[in-house]
Amino acid sequence: MHFEDTIAALSTPYGTGGIGVIRISGEFAFSVAAKIFISSQAMEDIASHTVSYGKIVEPESKEMIDEVLMLKMAKPNTFTREDVVEIHCHGGIVVINRVMELIFKYGARPAEAGEFTKRAFLNGRIDLSQAEAIIDLINSKTVESSKAAVSHLEGRLSGKLKSLREELVELLAHIEVTVDYPEHDIEEITGEKVYDSLRQIKSELCNLAKTFERGKLLRDGINVVIAGKPNVGKSSLLNQLSGHTRAIVTDIPGTTRDIIEEYVNIKGIPAKITDTAGIRATEDVVEKIGVDKAYRAIDEADLIIMLVAADTGVMSEDREILKGMKGRKKIILINKTDLADSSRIQEIRRELGTDIILEASVFMDQGIEGLETAISEMFYRGDIAKNEEVLLTNARHKSLVDKAATAIDQALGSFETGMPLDMVTIDIKSSADYIGQITGESIDEAVMHNIFSRFCIGK
């Protein structure tokens, strides 16, 4: 728990809007900003509550990231009653992410849900009547984030993090047991062994940190594939999402025989939408080629939008297609809801079970907004990963992984300068602690448990 350190977050909605405002609050707000914001005036000379023009520059590489406006506000006349800096970025989501990354790197940590408001309240700034609203906010966000955490826990990211943490805990147990039971004939772990393991873990953490390039994902766009049996409205959906008619839409099943791609922007997220041929068993050679291509596109998709038609219900062909998508990230869209009553739709929902199921009538232009929202939420939650690689998508996770790597660096440094093992454990412990803050595991009992299950000790 830390609530009096410096926090930062994007205060405007992710991915929409021309500018993004990043807010930093806390004791080090000014010093963090001073490290990355370059203008004609030094930070300390800038008057409070004024706007300055300047550039965000990566301090090490001197690379210019964005031209921004910076608003410096000294306490106590600020929202949180702490020192506050607002940075107004212009460069869109990729740039905003890079600026935030710098802010986290140079001393702030990502704010928790509702944390600015919480501070405002705790510092006596806002009215008591809002306290309950904050509690609700904290709780609702907790449910939400724990949901996200659960999906992460099952994911490869958490698998990776847990195994790295396990390795650290095991190293700690090895070191601690020799410290706490010096006279037992336990095979003492050698400095070299610890050193090698640490370097290995560090490089894995760094690799993981590098995957936090939503930019890469954003440059290429996420690969969304629309699939379904013939004539469920796939091409219409593509046209709706792209905002113009590209695919030929007829009511003759099998019109789309090839795949059609379109680059679109879904709530700020670039995406490549692929419309595929309707999948059905067919003797037509040309159509068959289209179907094969459709299957391949599905294989390569980051996200599948599977359409079923409300009027026909779930048919054997639908089931066949769904079978081939098991375990893939997908949204099932029940289309043509204007052609069926609600009890029918409920029946379809029941049959489809647990996936994310949305409803739409593409023809009537209904439900498109909902679909877009769902896609962007999945993306920002980190559910849509590129090529199944382990990917960091959450800024908080990224900053914790960075801290874990830095702690290991310090441990390695202690080794290199010949410090006793005890000094090394301090940083190994912090590193495992940081990772534990992502996976939600505390370290003390884990080390103790590891010691007692691994070593035979005691009188």
Binding site: K118, D180, I426
Partner: protein, 629 residues
Amino acid sequence: MDYFAGSYDVAVVGAGHAGCEAALAAARLGCRTIIFSINLDSMANMPCNPSIGGTAKGHLVREIDALGGQMGKTTDKTFIQSKILNNSKGPAVYSLRAQVDRRRYQMEMKHTLELQENLDIRQAEVVELLTDENRTRITGVKTHTGAIFECKAIVLTTGTYLQGRIIIGDVSYSGGPDGIFPANRLSASLLDLGITLLRFKTGTPARLSRRSLDFSKMTEQPGDEVIVPFSFDTENIEKDQVSCWLTYTNKDTHEVIRKNLHRSPLYSGNITGIGPRYCPSIEDKVVRFADKENHQVFVEPMGLETEEMYLQGMSSSLPEDVQIDFMKTIPGLENVKVMRSAYAIEYDGIDATQLNLSLEFKNIDGLFSAGQINGSSGYEEAAAQGIIAGINAAMKIKEVKPLILDRSQAYIGVLIDDLVTKGTREPYRMMTSRAEYRLLLRQDNADLRLTPLGKEAGLISPERYERFLEKKELIQQEVARLNSSYLPPSEEVIKYLEKRDSTPIKSGINVAELLRRPEISYESLAEVMELPQLPRSVREQVEISIKYEGYIKRQMQQVEQYKKLEGRKLPKAMDYSGIQGLRLEARQKLSQIKPDSIGQASRITGVSPADISVLLIHLEQINRGGAPK
């Protein structure tokens, strides 16, 4: 017939390591104190290994001493072998350990208590705690003979005596440790007061006749040449030391144990108490670590005027005949004569989450509890709680706020916070890995950390405090001097560095900077500069505080964060069930533990960060008087 036997401020129930420290502390603070023991010949007994200290435990002894306690002083007077453990692993984990003459330790401690002003000693079994009619305030104790002693505070230090049951194989009987009677009646009185009891288990190995052992088949383990005393008050010690001996179990030993496992009460289900993981019986080790071919066995003398030897590593609850069979397979023990058999013991303890951090029961005014009854294990852990309970019983009488050490101040703080905040289901042993700020909580600086607090409590004499201040001054002066001294790149200095494989210097170098290099020791600086004549303990502080300055500073920053949360106090009367937004589990846990601060609340198992946020907001609402402004 009951009769009125006297009136005291503080009554201490049990005269083991916790009880002795508690009674001495209370009496030294001016309280009229009485201590009870079922058998006065068993005061300050060591029914398990005859040693004091070791990793983390040695830290506790030094902390007790820094606060003005007794254990370190008595150990210094009666030890027969002294060792420093972990010499090469870093200053935070250096630990002192001493083999002591068990009898002499007891006698010495008993005599110290006998001579203590304000303190009476009484052989009796306390069978009932007396309270006011609401059962919320202590008024006295009653003994098995019907003697009623009035008192305002009680410290329960019953160790392993409450409903003690000894188990040796398929034999089991009511009994306390070392053949002493158990205390069978007090548990009922505790239950009657609404106190939740738990059942714990521990065990001890056999004692053997030295004359039956062949030491030529064992490895000798002598003491250290340089003796570092436990007490900050003890001047240098020089004395002859005795050796311990090391031997090993082997396949045959394990074979005997495996064949007879069905006769072990642990495996037959005859033992229900929860034993400590860090103190497994030999049969446990053989079963759980089946691929380990041998286990260490240490043979330790019980004292100078006895031939009894303690067999560390061989605690067991197997039947006597099996014990003898497997011991005979061990090199040097072929003709072993057992004097006391190994046994397991089960006993009643309390659920320590019923206590405040002051070790007073939350619901019973004036009732304190310390030592193994709280679920800890070990003499040092017991004594550490004992001195705190004794001090706080006295503070209660004097109506002064209790002495509470936090996790950043002392191992004692970690110990008590863990017991009281998290509770324990198995006997709790102190380990250095439990202390998150262990680089600050070193055994060498225990006096710097705690003596001012001991002084404030009233247990440190003015003379001792004066010496303490002098030492502190010397350390500060020398650190300042090194920080402002420079060495030139002279031939002499360059040679000195070369000799140590240290990076050469081209220009002058700051001495403190130089001392941070691992290969450079403070002592060695004498070769290139003048060093003042300083006591060993001062030199040690100077070296550690300069050498590890960076690490120490980082831990201090962590402590600052920690203190912020500890500083946010929670009212004791807080109604957690009425706080909107807390999860059900958190409400229950918080209502049960009644934490002192947000920090303590955050350490309760089952209280999440979101719950803490809710608490903070609720706290702010209270602070603003609950009304919108």
